[in-house]
């Protein structure tokens, strides 16, 4: 075993040009694989984040006629104490209602949402999305979207007259405490956010909520978790909706992207493996004289075959390491130089170590498999042919 390893290493060192070609081939293959893989993963993560990052991934709604969840705090508590609590990042009782902002000349329709702002920060990330003013900290304060603020020329401190259904009730006055900007245009135009109590009071429906919203650790497991939660809660007055149901088109697009990414990677691997196999096959012919000598001196066929397997292994390992460096380097360049005007990367890329290790493993494994063909040829080579033919 170690003799085969030693001979393989000498063979690699002595035929530098050939070794360089194989290593370059593996390097390029692994680099392309890692670059494309990480880029597509980054794109997908980015897309998913933009689509569902600032929204509920599992939503519980009431099945009652009046669409109200009674004692939402109980339900939230029940979820937090369930065996699935670890899988849930945040859970939020939300009371929302359409409303009309009454202006002197016209009315402007809005959507009022109230929830625990501290818990809601986990979903809506107010630390970054609140661009002016402060979060509501008193009854009767709201924050509004930047587009609504622009449209209605509102600034923090201004008051709004708001009509909440049933419209027979007189308009109520709320104060703008801050302005937010989410990724979602609809929200920026129409949403008004306040704490749960304020909205419950404005609606005159204390101790109720319209929905319970959750963000979870594994968004792609939303449907599974939703089913498990419903079984746990055993509450007929609730039903669950997950984001995957509502975004089937996006999911099929992501799926298509993943498949095309896998296709690219499979073909890269195949071409790398073929390149290795063909160069090593030539190498067996070139080294047949040496193999004949070794066999005449009594090396066993299995060891003679192992020489090429080790060559494949070593070339694979070197190529995989270099390919990873180049691939990660390309990703680094991409995220550093392909940037938006504000300096953030066009596609934020996450270095997925598991994927890199997997890519290296696949490259090394395919190098070894590719080396088996020349390995078998080398094992079968008869010393007499070499001795006789010189």
């Amino acid at each position: 075993m170690r003799l085969s390893f030693r001979i393989a290493w000498r063979f690699i060192k002595s035929s530098r040009g050939q070794s360089f070609l194989i290593i370059a081939g593996i390097t390029i293959g692994v680099a392309v694989q890692i670059f494309i893989g990480l880029l597509i993963q980054g794109l997908q993560a980015n897309l998913v984040q933009e689509t569902i990052g600032n929204s509920s991934q599992i939503t519980l709604r009431s099945t009652r006629k009046d669409d109200l969840i009674i004692s939402p705090d109980e339900v939230v508590k029940n979820i937090r104490e369930s065996p699935y609590a670890d899988e849930i990042e945040s859970v939020l009782a939300v009371s929302d209602t359409p409303g009309i902002i009454r202006l002197d000349e016209r009315d402007y329709s809005a959507f009022l949402r109230g929830f625990d702002l501290k818990e809601g920060n986990k979903i809506y990330d107010f630390d970054n999305t609140l661009i002016r003013g402060d979060l509501p900290d008193k009854q009767g304060e709201v924050i509004i979207g930047n587009e609504m603020a622009k449209e209605l020329s509102l600034e923090p401190g201004d008051t709004i007259k708001l009509v909440i259904p049933p419209v027979v009730i007189l308009p109520k006055t709320v104060t703008v405490s801050g302005i937010f900007q989410f990724g979602l245009g609809q929200a920026n135009r129409t949403w008004m956010i306040s704490d749960l109590k304020t909205v419950q009071n404005l609606r005159n429906k204390p101790n109720t909520a319209s929905s319970i919203e959750m963000q979870i650790e594994e968004p792609f497991q939303a449907d599974v978790l939703a089913t498990k939660l419903m079984e746990h809660l055993k509450n007929d007055a609730l039903n669950a909706l997950d984001w995957k149901e509502e975004n089937a088109d996006l999911l099929s697009a992501l799926n298509g992207q993943s498949i095309s990414s896998i296709m690219i990677q499979v073909f890269v691997i195949i071409s790398v493996a073929l390149a290795i196999a063909s160069v090593l096959a030539i190498s067996v012919v070139q080294k047949s004289r040496q193999l004949g000598i070794l066999k005449a001196m009594g090396i066993r066929n299995s060891k003679a075959g192992q020489i090429f397997i080790f060559e494949g292994l070593m070339l694979g390992v070197i190529g995989a390491i270099m390919g990873t460096l180049v691939g990660v380097g390309l990703i680094w360049m991409f995220t550093t130089f392909a940037v938006n005007p504000d300096g953030t990367a066009v596609v934020p890329v996450y270095i997925n170590y598991g994927f890199i290790v997997l890519s290296m493993g696949i490259a090394i494994a395919s190098s070894v498999i590719a080396a088996m063909i020349p390995g078998i040829r080398s094992a079968k080579l008869s010393p007499i042919e070499v001795i006789r033919n010189g």
Binding site: G298, R300, R388
Partner: protein, 232 residues
């Protein structure tokens, strides 16, 4: 009868399936322990075929080959490899060294096949053999960087590292000038005396053949002449 190391019984070798070449015809031969033998004959007389069969590199079509009283014609490939490694030593006309390795490493190669970490006595032995062959100066050089005579002497040192009982040499001096031929021949004869190693030399160099204890001449696959030589 002397103690023998090699015995061939009715060995036939036929090449080809359509056009058959009968390279060895019912050949029987016994080689005594510690003897120094030369096989001569013209091209195509079957002498290289004979050497390859003795060397467990090629199988006879029929007949038995015994080395140290063991029938090698019945052996599996791995057993044959071990016989080549342990009992036999090869010296070829075209040196057949590994160009990727140094002179020292080439000499150690047959030992490495059993143990990649040779003990000190094996290193000492390799040094002794290299010294005896006059190769101490070049032992760390790659074999591509040394002269033809040095390469052939490296091959001889290599053939000795595992203490083989029988050394097979195919035209060992065929590629060398007369001065180097004499040196190599003297070395082989020296080893024969020092270690009691049996030698079978294939040669068509009449001067080399005449220095052997026994001369066997092949013609068309049969032994035409087999004489004891008392020149020594």
């Amino acid at each position: 009868m002397d103690k023998h190391i090699l015995k061939l019984e009715n060995v036939n070798k036929i090449y080809g399936t359509v056009v058959k070449t009968h390279a060895l015809k019912d050949l029987s031969l016994t080689i005594g322990e510690s003897s120094f033998n030369a096989i001569i004959g013209q091209s195509g007389s079957g002498k290289s075929t004979l050497l390859n069969i003795i060397g467990a590199l090629d199988n006879p079509t029929s007949g038995k080959v015994y080395i140290n009283d063991k029938d090698i014609s019945e052996m599996k490939t791995n057993q044959l490899a071990d016989v080549r490694n342990q009992t036999l030593g090869f010296i070829f006309q075209f040196h057949y060294l590994l160009p990727e390795f140094t002179t020292m490493e080439n000499v150690l190669m047959p030992y490495w096949m059993n143990n990649i970490n040779p003990p000190k006595e094996i290193i000492d032995k390799a040094n002794y053999l290299l010294d005896k062959m006059g190769l101490s100066e070049v032992k760390e050089k790659l074999t591509t960087q040394i002269s033809g005579g040095q390469q052939q002497r490296t091959a001889i040192a290599r053939s000795l590292i595992n203490n083989p009982r029988l050394i097979l040499a195919d035209e060992p001096t065929g590629n060398l000038d007369s001065e180097n031929t004499k040196t190599v021949y003297d070395l082989l004869r020296d080893i024969n005396k020092e270690f009691g190693t049996t030698f079978i030399l294939v040669t068509h160099d009449q001067r080399v053949a005449e220095m052997a204890d026994r001369i066997i001449e092949l013609k068309d696959g049969i032994i035409k002449m087999d004489v004891r030589n008392d020149v020594q």
